[in-house]
Amino acid sequence: MQFKDQLDFVSQHIKKNKLRVFMTILAATMGTAFLITLASVGFGIQDTLKSEILDNRLVTQVEVYSADLTKEKADKMKGMDHVKAVVLRQQVSAYQKTTLDKYTSTSELIVSNFGEEQKAGFTLEKGRLPQSEYEVVVGHDFAENLINEEEVEKFEAEQKDKDLSDTELDELELPHYEEELLEKKITYEMGSYETYESYKEPVKLTIVGVAKAPAKDFISDSKIYADASLISELEAIYDRHKPEASDETLFSMNLNIYADELQNVKEITTSLKEDGYSVYSISEELEQIDVFFLALKAGLIFVGTIAILISSIGIFNTMTMAVTERTREIGVMKALGAKPKLIQRLFLLESAWIGIIGTVIAVILSYAISILANYVLPLIVGAALGEEEFGELNVTFSIIPWQLVVIASAISISVAMISGWRPARKATQIDVIDALRQEL
């Protein structure tokens, strides 16, 4: 019998028992949709957590710690396999003061190599990167830290009269520098932490670029980024003023290595650990999260599978009824020359058909539920917690990746076929003589 004829045969029987088949498909749909929706919550929470961790941090970043980091050691690391960039940031560890017109700030100065920074993903919001030692890039929130003491005092005095609560006072934005920063000259001074006094050796720097804002709202970047060529001048100033007995250096080092691809991070961290460095990589944290969620998702799929198993009782029932009802027809077909395998295949096709249709509807339904959940749940949770902004946060409650669709479909269709197997087997064992004796 040709496959198309087998399908025709199956669809003819399905049409004859529309209501019963519909109810069975409904049960299969509910079971599968339950599995997909349940597991999608695991995928959703995992995704939310991961993006929370990854926000503002690169997954390929490896932080390197050592008491005796040097520029030479950092340069040597550039030669390692799969290393895309080695960013050695040197931070001034002295009292710092920056002045622009009548505004001052205590922003920190970081010296780095912009070539490596760019490779690692450092991007500007506007302007360009420094091309000489006296050109700098400032952080996105640099202007907010440039304040005028008099203006602030006056502003605070005004607010006191308004009789505001402490919370309201905290939320107030202090007056700060509002004008364009690009091409402005700032005066940078270092001094002693003990006296908070400047060494009175100002360095004039020109702002040529503003860095892109950090990915998270609550992180502020008011740093000044200068090229490594400024180091010698700053060290000279420091050497002239530091206490004679002190052997402290001006700069503290912070070294980050960036791998070319995520899968190579492990190789780099292992190699660095072997060389005696302490390292930290976000990928290690992600690995632990992945293991935890793998177990969670497997658990959720297991619970969902139970629902499918319950729905399979319906399929078993429907198919057993179908075989019983069609005993005489099966007998006639066998008498005419239908092989037992063909009879079995026809019934397995019918149960597979129920499974496939149930699965297709369940997948469509699950996507609809997922989209609705991601839209509605944040609003409900936000309303319940009394936080209107919750709805605007990027929280994903449910994600249905294609792998989940494949797993759920495989489980659902397999369970449908397994539940149809016994009735199909029963059909092949029908005795022709007994079947032909049945009354019409």
Binding site: M1, M333, A335, L336, G337, A338, K339, K341, V432, I433
Partner: protein, 232 residues
């Protein structure tokens, strides 16, 4: 064509654990010539239907051998038996055994579908046969919309569609009135003459049996040749 040798068969009856065997076929041997009609006549319970079931491969004999066209069929597995039936046999049943959900056309087409014949070929063959057996008017009717005679014609057409060399007929006129019975018997005779099909007819009706070239009387599992009649 059909060679039945020393066929014996018994059924177990009674409660489980206390069954006792009842012999239904006792050492039967006979031959059926190619292109002939034979009738096996007997009362209910004489074993004639069991003999047909064994010859058709629905049932395996306890002992003995059946050879059809040189092939020993009594040792066949269920699948081999099904394949052989589809290829070599046609069946006419007392209560027609048509598929209630299929039209006249589809019922006749069914054996060709089981054979895996392409649709175009099936349609051509069925149309020709429908014309031949006079069912064109009712080709889209379902079995419950047909008279007994029409249903049996459909059943005969279904048996003929694969051009089998042998047709087994189990009480072919048992559910029909005498006028329709004559029509069906005439059709069987004409098919035998025009197409050379061998018919094995099981009946308790002497009139039906009389169209045969050879008549066998079945009595308590024993077969006796009765001779040749031609009533019609």
């Amino acid at each position: 064509m059909i060679h039945v040798e020393h066929i014996q068969h018994s059924f177990k009856i009674g409660k489980k654990g206390k069954e006792r065997p009842v012999s239904v076929l006792k050492d039967l041997s006979f031959k059926v010539r190619k292109g002939s009609i034979i009738s096996i006549v007997g009362r209910s319970g004489s074993g004639k239907s069991t003999l047909l079931h064994i010859m058709a491969g629905f049932l395996k004999p306890e002992s003995g051998r059946i050879t059809i066209n040189g092939t020993v069929t009594s040792d066949f597995t269920e699948t081999q038996s099904a394949e052989f039936r589809l290829d070599q046999f046609g069946f006419i049943f007392q209560n027609f055994q048509l598929m209630p959900g299929l039209t006249t056309f589809e019922n006749i087409e069914l054996p060709l579908k089981l054979k895996g014949a392409p649709k175009a070929e099936r349609t051509k063959q069925v149309k020709q046969l429908i014309q031949h057996v006079g069912l064109k008017e009712v080709q889209d009717h379902y079995p419950n919309e047909l008279s007994g005679g029409q249903q049996q014609r459909v059943s005969i057409a279904r048996a003929l569609i694969t051009n089998p060399p042998i047709i087994f007929a189990d009480e072919p006129t048992g559910s029909l009135d005498s006028e329709t019975e004559q029509e069906i018997l005439a059709l069987i005779l004409s098919l035998n003459e025009s197409l050379g099909i061998t018919f094995v007819i099981i009946t308790h009706d002497d009139e039906v049996a009389s169209i045969a070239d050879e008549i066998y009387q079945m009595h308590d599992g024993v077969l006796k040749a009765e001779g040749v009649h031609h009533a019609i």
